[in-house]
Symmetry: D2
């Protein structure tokens, strides 16, 4: 009989749907884990909406105040998927209430705020994790293993882009992700944050950065009504866009590697083009989230006339996670990255092992984000 | 409040896992459907195994005899995912008991047997469907719409391959899919059956065929123990492989198009390479299940200097099904093809609309399969 | 000082341009060959046109009657690139005159006619070659070496398509390649002939075939005036198309492999899509002429988690031919296939070594072409 | 009768071969141009080597002193393809002698030196051009036309990488391209220079940059003997590498676009991966020199459900240059970029039209190169 772990989820939009699904599905695909999440309570400010969402996602109950949620005895983990400006207070409350905390990235909009969150969980001594879900991609975990095993040799280059195009239309309205006071930043915290974490995970610590952040379309229609994907209806009135459209920077890593990072929401044709390439002395790898079931790999030591980038379909039983899903060649999707990450998190938390990405990894990421912002403002390199 | 439809599932291996998952997930992604499947009972001959599987998949109860299952009052749909040699008797029993019947492909191992199944559901007047799940791929449904709308013009060519490599190793044991008395055939009924249905769906009726079926490795180790993916442990003893390794044929369609079909399990490097290309007078499309979130499309009427195959990421809100999942660019996987197909099936059954693929579509597919087999035996063209 | 070999070329359209270019360039890229072609004379029936072409291509002189050309003492090799219906008489005349003969494919429109050509060169004891230029692609020669070295193991599958779309428009006029009395056949002799030769070269002898040949558009405008690419101007009058639009067949090889061949000029979006895939017990390869500087290769013996099709850029110094061109990654094009093939031909002829593809290889190809035609007519398998 | 233009070429290694080939081939493919280059004289310091090269490339004569070459009355154009440290003096001498000057990039190793070259050609009033040969790629010229026609709308992003891997092996010797006193720089002047020119050509003026240049392997074996590709034999002695392995920078364009540039010779698996992507308000394009016969294009205005990056095969008669080569789908290669560029240069020079890229374009490129170098040294943004 699997041990139950009871989830209290704060937030019910896109990420709420993704997290709920992961909890529901985890035990179905990983029954040997021995831990089964239970969707105990969903929390949101609008009773009407949170009630409907709770029913839709399969929660047993709902709350309209996170302060009540964190105090409930029947909750083990507080999972925070609200817009970024609310993470700090919820995480602190959860930590104080002794709950394990799982929070969406970016943890907050500045190092100071994230530091407060870290301090809170450390003071409370509670388990904590940041939802850098792309660590849960089989191909990414395979990449990690390859690098750890020395398959790529010494790393020289990191090269990432995270390209989207959902706001190319100048009449796309100012949804919350385009509002600085709520979202903190634009592609910066939303997209580059993922790339930074992947670089930390795969290459190592970033020591200094030099960046530029831009907003190409400075005014857009004010939002009339949001939908549950990423968009919404535009009103007739215009307003200021207070976040960046693109965030681009150069970086140096502690191990001597150099890197480029670019994120934008203005790359026509790119949908969720979260791509990176790593070049090392013994080989290279390339990953693109749009084809997340594949990892490209070049082995510098292959016979001279037979060298080339190979496309590994990371769906075999020997690949990370995928033996728990379907036979080889039968792909998984975006939602499974959450299942996989939560699997690793709960496995570690159960066994008492260290788990990454935790809040400290979120802090490390935020330090880079802040340094890039500062670099962009001052037009110089900044140490992290 | 969604209306409940109660599922009795017979079989609990790979396909049992896929179907169960689809039923569990359907309402989460398509709450507006108004129908919610309930996993009422799972059926299998081994009590130990079926009990464990029922728990794993989330069924309320289990049965060890399908005859008892079909008689239960609390079951609305009998879903059959057992090996092919048992479909006929179960489907007949279900029909006689007045249950709706959903059955995995191929329905049976010959036209005669499938005809009996069709007769049974017709006589009983029960709803029926065949699980050609690839009709539930967004890109495939988009292809269907494009062809219906005349986007490709008059169709000239169908060209499909369904390539796998899981038995390239001559020491891969004789699992049930390699046993003719259970599976009926090899790549023929397992893989080409899918391609035939897709061709029927997208291009139209096949009128005659000429084929060749081959078994390259005629003896393999007898199976010691199967696993729940596609493989198992080999014993020391050798046995005869009684199914085809590859099935290849030429075809003519009623509308004048010509086609090629090829399926094999001996194509090193191909994992689930279910690919087709259609060439018409106004354009072409290409689909590959390994990249199921993409559809390639060539528009013959594009400006001369800007013509080329484009890769459509079929993940936008305007594409079939995908608006119910994640934002654009966030891919879905193999399992969602079942959710989508079952969505369409239940939607049709609820509304009283005709649904395809039904048993008759399974029969149409079987007629082609039988004609190919006969053609291969007699080395001539065969009408369908 | 390189030894000169003097060329008399009959024909000056597309292929005349390609062959002339190859002769002119050969010595520049392969100076170590020790043989330098000299463009001695160009031959064509229209004095005005052949004179202009001779000047354009760089020939020293021209002739308007091939009978005069073959008698000239200052010619060593007669190269025939005229439309197919004239190959026989020219080749016979050349052979009788003791000239080495190099002829475009298909050699003629039937086995009987090709046999006469073979008899003529054999009787005369003259060197002879068929211009299956795709044997001169670096990736194809690499494939040959890999197969000879056992890299792919036992071959199970050959799968080729040769797809074009230049006659998809029903108003494309009846150029000579669409006239049966001149061209012999359509995609059959023009395209599938190449695939057959590649299959012979890479896999081995074809023993039996079963095919279907189709003409989708049976009437087209009569040609008013041809251009020097593949097209021309349409007149107002309609005429019958007397060649096939597509030629498709199944095949069995002497070594137990099975194959599919398809050629069509009606595949919208495909330009020169000459593609094949070979699956063997140890690996697979894929080649596409549109990306002729690449060869895809899957090694079944790679580590389990790192298996995948790799894209070899066949431009390294260690690859066939390419060390004589440019540094790695700097691609060559279509025209170099002729240079490479002629290089190998002249090298063999100089050294006294056997050379393939010779007329006998052209005959072998024609036997398959004829068998497919016969099979298509009789709707049964035909031995080759 | 075509007018002859007489070429004096200084240098005979890789680029000498490429330029000679282009001159020899130009008239064959572009007879309507009305200008035919004549390979009059080749110049190099070693009589033995230059004599052999002149014979190999097809020059009528040779010189061992460029000062004698520039004075010859039978020379119209001085073409300079020597290592970078000699460009200045040769170009000045040629200009003073009233010759038209065509020079390989980078023109020299600093803005000051290039300015001197510009002054010299301006003072002499002679025609001049810089060999940014990638402007001669059909796909690149198509891209230029598309952008000029507004097909991409307002440009937001330029994103280029120029990746090679020929020095990944730490034992690769210090050829002249790795010697700062001869080459000026490493990937900086050799590779990024190309990307900068393409960005100037396609997007517009770069106004400021921020870069980092790195040498990962600081010591390598001293060269024993060079070959005529890019490599050579290593001696036993080690020496300092005095050029950069990689050069990476951020850029701002005058029109508001932002860009990233990266060049490296340490990207395992990348051979001549000269790739760029441009994102505009109406669409995007992607080009990769390794597949130089293709241009990827995304049209933001395509119907919503049919949007996607399309791969244009730029080999049709309607595409730039390619109508002069082979039928559609029959690709050209690296060498043809030189033919095409020289075609445009001679066409402009004959007609009296302005031609780009001229020395001034080389200067513009050098200004960016110098600014990046300065930025890398000072760790700040630099205006161009």
């Amino acid at each position: 009989m699997a041990k139950q772990v009871r989830i209290g989820l704060v937030g019910y939009q896109f990420m709420g749907k993704a997290h709920s699904n992961a909890y529901r599905q985890l035990h179905r695909f990983f029954p040997e884990l021995g831990v089964e999440p239970v969707l105990k309570a969903l929390c949101g400010r609008s009773e009407e909406k949170v009630k409907a969402a709770a029913e839709k996602f399969g929660f047993e109950s709902y709350e309209t105040d996170y302060r009540k949620l964190v105090e409930r005895d029947d909750i083990d983990i507080i999972d925070i998927v609200t817009p970024g400006d609310t993470h700090v207070e919820i995480a602190i409350a959860a930590a104080k209430a002794g709950k394990m905390v799982f929070c969406e990235k970016p943890l907050a909009s500045s190092v100071d705020k994230v530091q407060v969150m870290c301090d809170a969980v450390n003071a409370a001594g509670v388990r904590n994790a940041t939802c850098f879900n792309y660590r849960g991609v089989p191909a990414v975990k395979l990449a990690k293993q390859m690098i750890q095993d020395g398959v790529l040799g010494k790393i020289y280059h990191w090269r990432s882009v995270y390209l989207q195009d959902w706001i190319v239309d100048p009449n796309f309205p100012i949804v919350w992700r385009l509002q600085g006071d709520i979202a903190g930043s634009g592609s910066h915290g939303d997209l580059v944050a993922h790339s930074i974490d992947l670089a930390h995970y795969l290459v190592g610590d970033i020591t200094e950065v030099c960046g530029m952040m831009d907003t190409f379309i400075k005014q857009r229609p004010i939002l009339a009504e949001s939908d549950d994907r990423l968009g919404g209806k535009a009103s007739d009135e215009m307003g200021d866009v207070t976040v960046d459209d693109s965030s681009i920077f150069l970086a140096r890593f502690a191990n001597g590697a150099v890197g480029t990072f670019e994120a934008t929401r203005m790359a026509a044709g790119r949908k969720n083009h979260n791509k990176f390439e790593i070049n090392g002395s013994k080989g290279s790898i390339v990953f693109n989230m749009e084809r997340m079931n594949e990892l490209e790999y070049y082995n510098h030591d292959d016979p001279a006339e037979l060298k080339g980038f190979r496309t590994i379909q990371t769906t075999d039983g020997c690949h990370p996670y995928t033996g728990n899903y379907w036979p080889i060649g039968h792909i998984i999707g975006y939602e499974h990255t959450f299942i996989n990450l939560i699997h690793d998190m709960l496995q570690a938390w159960e066994s008492g092992a260290e788990f990454h990405p935790d809040f400290n990894d979120g802090l490390k990421c935020q330090k880079v984000l802040d340094a890039v912002k500062s670099s962009s403002d001052t037009r110089t390199w900044k140490g992290v």
